[in-house]
């Protein structure tokens, strides 16, 4: 059996570890465009912020490829898949055979079509280690930075460079920050906290309509001069290798719950795929590291002849800014209840007798107890939900359930 993996991040590593749970012998070849040892992409903001370094941000030890019998071809790009011949072609012209192929190609920054954007000289994305280094080198203490996008990437970028740049302005068309994970009220709490802890100005409900070399002209007419522009408005799944090979894709590569694509012996996982979000009962791209790993592991096990399904995908976000933590999961439709005091905020969404989603800001201890309730669709009438809303605790479960958790092996 010959395994080929395209990609080198969480889904690819999950795939290697999944394969090796079943098949310890067969050769694995891993091909990735980036020349670096596998590293954690979400850590690039922590790298700039000084909370980690390049050695510590490696996602697996230096010996990972050797330990797992992986031939890592780093700095090479796959340009095509031939599903009939079962080969992949590289930009170097080489062709490799596969018996099982994993596509973990991730996503790329979306660059919106805005007049004049091409003429901006110092323009950066914030996705890869090389992006982070390039941005870092462009910054001095006086640099005026304009960040397009107040989502997860834009705000982590802002935090990462907060002590390295001068004035930072974040613009977003949404009327509140972190629109993909927070509602307006909690977003306001986080925004206020960030404004109190860093020199970051938010311009919300507005967007760049036009750029000159060093100025953004917003839809409102406001002009924002800048030295460096960061484009963090979103990402697009890298689906083309599969679509060009005749495989089914939507906004991401279509996979089943075994992480198989529509092409025989071709699997896909991570940010390049779309999957079934059980909290909306629909298909969406969930570009989240834990999902990427779990999908990759599932694919790897199945590629090696095992049998595993991943059918519990939910949105999950753990993020913090300047020491304020927030943990969110699921979706917020249904009946919503909110509890807040000076320092903490929590929101629960209940639908069809199930916990459907939550937002915790500040005190986030033991939040995984809530996450498990969403993931496992545990009916609320089997737990003491009032007790749970006070704080996550196993006391809220029946004695029998507790014994399953605490008195047997998992």
């Amino acid at each position: 059996m010959k395994y080929v993996i395209i990609g080198n991040s969480a889904a690819a590593v999950g795939c290697v570890e999944g394969i090796r749970q079943i098949d310890r012998e067969s050769p694995i070849t891993l091909i990735a465009s980036e020349p670096h040892h596998t590293y954690s992409r979400p850590l690039i903001s922590y790298l700039l912020y000084g909370k980690t370094d390049e050695q510590r941000m490696k996602y697996r030890p230096d010996s990972f490829y050797a330990d797992n019998g992986v031939n890592a071809m780093l700095g090479k790009t796959v340009t095509g898949i031939d599903p009939k011949a079962k080969t992949v072609t590289l930009d170097s012209g080489e062709t490799l055979d596969y018996d099982r192929l994993m596509v973990a190609t991730g996503s790329r920054p979306f660059i919106p079509p805005i007049e004049g954007l091409d003429e901006v000289e110092k323009k950066f994305s914030f996705m890869t280690l090389d992006d982070a280094h390039a941005l870092d080198q462009a910054l001095t203490k006086d640099t005026r930075v304009l960040i397009m996008g107040a989502g997860l990437i834009g705000l982590k970028c802002a935090e990462g460079i907060a002590n390295k740049a001068g004035k930072i302005t974040v613009v977003d068309l949404a009327d509140h920050i972190l629109p993909s994970i927070l509602q307006p009220e909690p977003a306001g709490i986080v925004q206020k906290y960030i404004e109190e802890h860093a020199s970051i100005e938010f311009v919300l409900g507005d967007a760049a309509a036009k750029f000159t070399k060093n100025t953004a002209i917003l839809k409102s007419g406001r002009e924002i001069p800048f030295d460096v522009l960061c484009v963090c408005v979103g990402v697009r799944a890298n689906t083309s290798l599969v679509s060009e090979a005749g495989g089914k894709v939507g906004r991401g590569i279509t996979v089943d719950d075994r992480c198989a694509t529509s092409i025989e012996d071709v699997y896909a996982a991570g940010d390049c795929t779309e999957c079934h979000d059980i909290t909306i009962d629909g298909i969406r791209v969930l570009a989240l590291l834990p999902n990427a790993y779990l999908q990759g592991e599932t694919a790897g096990i199945n590629m090696a002849g095992g049998d595993r399904v991943f059918d519990k995908a939910i949105p999950l976000n753990a993020i913090g800014f300047f020491g304020l933590h927030m943990l969110t999961a699921g979706s917020y439709d249904g009946e919503v209840s909110v509890y807040k005091d000076e320092e903490n905020y929590k929101l629960f969404a209940v639908k069809d007798g199930l916990l459907h989603g939550f937002i915790l800001i500040g005190d986030v201890a033991r939040a995984g107890i809530y996450t498990a309730m969403i993931r496992d669709k545990r009916p609320l009438d089997t737990v003491d939900f009032e007790l749970l809303k006070e704080k996550p605790q196993l006391m809220a479960f029946s004695r029998e359930e507790r014994d399953k958790m605490l008195a047997i092996a998992h």
């Binding site: 850590l43 510590r56 913090g320 999961a329 201890a365 996450t371 498990a372 196993l394």
Partner: protein, 142 residues
């Protein structure tokens, strides 16, 4: 593999496990110096309510969601023990969001902490179990 298991009906709610956990992980050899006037942050926690009490610590799962979800590789499974690498952790709390038992918690120094069965401190075997007066937690194979 030996794990820490709970006998809920025998738990007195005395919190000795919490104190011994905090002491074992303090790196200090004198218990008074380690714990006196210190607000402890143990890796095992007693839950109590209306006469029921029990201890919760890492279950050392076979399929650990914390390890699989960790964005840095700071959490690993080594010989069955879910082990934490303090140096790699950036304190993103994805593990706290992932653990179904609420057994990973923020540490005082901005990252997280969890039970490692006292394998990485001076204890060698779980101090909470050694000092439980009523065998409400036990360390054994199941």
């Amino acid at each position: 593999m030996k794990r820490v298991y709970v006998n809920e009906e025998w738990c007195l709610g005395c919190h000795l496990c919490e104190y011994y956990c905090a002491f074992a992980n303090s790196g200090v050899s004198d218990m008074v110096k380690a714990l006196k006037n210190v607000r402890i942050n143990p890796r095992i926690r007693i839950e109590e309510e209306k006469g029921i009490s029990f201890a919760v610590s890492c279950r050392h799962c076979e399929e650990p969601l914390c390890v699989k979800s960790c964005i840095t590789g700071a959490l690993t499974r080594e010989n069955g023990v879910i082990t934490f690498n303090h140096d790699k952790c950036v304190g993103c709390y994805t593990c706290i969001l992932s653990c179904p038992y609420g057994a990973i918690m923020p540490s005082e120094d901005g990252v997280v902490q969890k039970c490692e069965l006292c394998l990485n401190n001076a204890g060698g075997s779980p101090a909470c179990v050694q000092h439980c007066p009523n065998q409400a937690i036990i360390f054994e194979e199941r």
